[in-house]
């Protein structure tokens, strides 16, 4: 994305620019040619479609209806034909199927070639192409965008269609009203701002969408759609990378990288003793561990192995509870991929609240004991049969 909303280019070369129309003259309406189609690139792992694909079909259906175009979906893989029907049930009008042994596992170059060569063969380009902002989508999307010579907005949390009026005289060639633009909306700058990014000068307009943000349609087995086999012309240079192995990490206890729940303490704990409370909270969860900010490691309250952040570990637990941590960027880069982040901090303006999902403004020494008490009460209230082996 454009990285700063600059007011205008300071170097605008007005002398060489064409005469700009007087202010009174209405702006021309400019339509960049497209076939109005919205295209999703499906993501699957060994044939299992990923949730983000259904989410994209949900929002994609909405965008396609607003444009009056169709919703299609690329499905590349091996022995994957049956999945085409679930894409149709989830909203797709047409599935572009590439079924080939070399496409079984995602690899950048073969996938990029099949998709871009197919789109380049169309008389008119699609209007929109969307991918998930997963490790796969963020790998593939920039290659597809650069290959098609078009813009791309990363990690959107909202997508919409609407007009755009370009009045920036620093860029006079673009003056005009553009109907039907993709509004790619995403947080920026530590997420305190939402930026609406668009690029109606080229089609397709592309974006990746943050997994978990959009709502899938209810699958409808009665929906009908077309499945089209598309050409696959892989070249030798597409195999410059091969996948050697895929490792699924299974949790095995205390290692922070594998913990599903991490309770992290920062300088707000006030002393090394505070980590006893962190351990007590962590002990309320299965497969949990205790993390820390660098500041408390530096003062020696806890060993370096527990440090999370830029110069410590990067973790991706299901639940991250940050206690008395300000949320400096160096800490954040090590934990912001956690599924749910809960922050407890007595300062309502602490940066951690800009990216946590749930925040409590309060003293750790009041909030954490209460949390422990309520967790224990909740456990008591829903009795579970103990495994005989544990008794």
């Amino acid at each position: 994305m454009t990285d700063t909303p600059q007011p205008s280019a300071p170097n605008a070369e007005t002398p060489s620019a064409p005469v700009t129309p007087p202010a009174a003259e209405p702006l021309p309406t400019i339509v960049t040619p497209s076939n109005k189609e919205v295209v999703i690139i499906a993501e699957h792992f060994k044939g299992t479609l990923q949730p983000v694909t259904y989410e994209l079909l949900g929002i994609g259906r909405d965008l396609a209806d607003k444009l009056g175009g169709k919703l299609s979906c690329f499905l590349l893989g091996f022995n994957i034909k049956e999945q085409a029907q679930s894409l149709i049930a989830a909203g797709a009008d047409e599935v572009y199927l590439a079924d080939h042994p070399e496409l079984e596992l995602y690899r950048t170059l073969p996938y990029k070639r099949v998709i871009t060569e197919f789109i380049k063969g169309w008389e008119l380009p699609p209007h929109i192409v969307l991918l998930g902002s997963s490790t796969t989508g963020r790998d593939l999307a920039p290659r597809v965008a650069a290959c098609l010579g078009t813009g791309l907005t990363a990690d959107c949390t909202e997508l919409d269609i609407g007009p755009y009026e370009h009045t920036n005289k620093a860029d006079p060639d673009k003056l005009g009203i553009y109907p039907g633009c993709l509004y790619a909306i995403r947080p920026s700058f530590g997420e305190s701002l939402k930026a609406r990014i668009l690029g109606p000068w080229n089609n397709p307009q592309m974006a990746t969408a943050r997994p978990g943000t959009f709502i899938p349609l209810k699958p409808d087995a009665n929906r009908t759609g077309v499945v089209t086999d598309i050409p696959i012309n892989l070249q030798g240079e597409d195999f410059r990378l091969s996948v050697l192995e895929i490792v699924h990490e299974i949790s095995k206890g205390v290692d922070l990288a594998d913990a599903e729940v991490i309770v992290s303490g920062g300088y707000g704990l006030g002393s090394a003793d505070g980590f006893k409370l962190m351990e007590e909270l962590a002990a309320c969860f299965k497969n949990s561990g205790v993390g820390a900010s660098r500041k408390v490691v530096d003062v020696g309250w806890i060993p370096y192995q527990n440090q999370i952040g830029q110069t410590g570990k990067t973790v991706r637990p299901k639940l991250y509870i940050a206690c008395g941590i300000s949320g400096a960027i160096q800490h954040r880069v090590g934990m912001d991929k956690s599924t749910t982040i809960i922050a407890i901090n007595k300062d309502a303006s602490a940066p951690i609240f800009k990216f946590a999902h749930h925040g409590i403004v309060g003293d750790v020494y009041q909030v954490v004991p209460e949390l422990i008490a309520q967790l224990k009460a909740a456990q008591g209230s829903c009795p579970t049969v103990k495994e005989p082996a544990l008794v």
């Binding site: 454009t2 600059q6 240079e237 996948v243 946590a356 579970t384």
Partner: protein, 278 residues
């Protein structure tokens, strides 16, 4: 078989968002006033390049694009052990999006000459897109490994461990190729005292510094100005909106009693109960 001899590393200077200076009330950044720093993610890219240097004796060239103060991060790179630096600085680059940036940087890379590996940080903290690396790879027709969190060199191949949802994969890439390094790469080293002293000496010796940090503009690297900056960018920020007082999607509980706030969070954050010990 390739033993990497020439390694490039792409780095960027970004505003330090943890410092209050230069952060406007509306949340935008006043780049002139903001404190500047090396993009935190680029440390990992830099470390990757320097690790290859350690393994093969390769020459490492750091490349950045930015206004003249960006020289600060090049000095930092020199203190870490980089051999040479190139600064692309040109007012015509203002307001470049990732597409225009990747164009300008690919021109600098072509100007720099043959290379075996290009290292990038995964993403920047100010743009947050993770797009520039792969877009450079596309423009230069290179294979890529994004989200690399560890690697080794074996039989002339770049073997990389790549982050994936719920695990990782090992891939083997032919060189030349491009790598974006994730922040889970665990081998960060800090500049040695000797490195820092070397740079301090350099700063007193303008001639020596010039030999190590080459400043280029669009004309020197034969880049078409029409492809750069605002005019060359296919995307623009049409508008920005402030996201609530505290930003983000955080549901903030304050001002109520502790038990009430805890109960509300227990109700809203299903993970708390899901992972609680039965």
């Amino acid at each position: 078989m390739t033993t990497p001899q020439n390694v490039l590393v792409m780095i960027k200077q970004v505003p330090d968002q943890s410092a209050k200076a230069g952060i406007n009330p509306d949340g935008t950044i006043d780049r002139a006033k903001a404190k500047r720093m090396l993009n935190p993610f680029d440390r990992f890219g830099l470390q990757g390049a320097l690790t290859v240097k350690k393994l093969t004796g390769a020459k490492v060239t750091a490349i950045t694009m930015g206004p003249p103060p960006a020289v600060e991060i090049l000095l930092e790179a020199l203190s870490q052990g980089v051999d040479k630096c190139i600064l692309l600085s040109d007012r015509r680059l203002a307001a470049s999006d990732t597409w225009a940036t990747s164009y300008a940087l690919s021109k600098v890379i072509e100007y720099t000459g043959p290379f075996d590996l290009i290292f990038c940080g995964l993403q920047t903290t100010d743009g947050d897109t993770a797009q520039v690396g792969p877009e450079i790879a596309e423009r230069l027709n290179l294979p890529q490994v994004s989200y690399c969190e560890d690697f080794k060199l074996e039989d002339g191949k770049f073997l990389a461990r790549r982050v994936m949802e719920g695990g990782h994969q090992w891939v083997s890439m032919a060189m030349p190729g491009l790598v974006t390094v994730a922040n889970s790469y665990h081998h960060l080293e800090y500049p040695s005292i000797r490195g820092v002293q070397k740079v301090q000496r350099l700063q007193r010796d303008e001639e020596a510094l010039k030999a190590l940090i080459e400043t280029v503009d669009l004309d020197i690297v034969k880049a078409d100005p029409k492809e750069c900056g605002l005019k060359g960018s296919p995307t623009i920020v049409a508008r920005t909106d402030k996201v609530g007082e505290l930003g983000g999607s955080c549901v903030l509980h304050q001002g109520e009693t502790i038990p009430t706030m805890v109960r509300d969070v227990m109700g809203a954050a299903s993970a708390l109960k899901e992972f609680a010990l039965a």
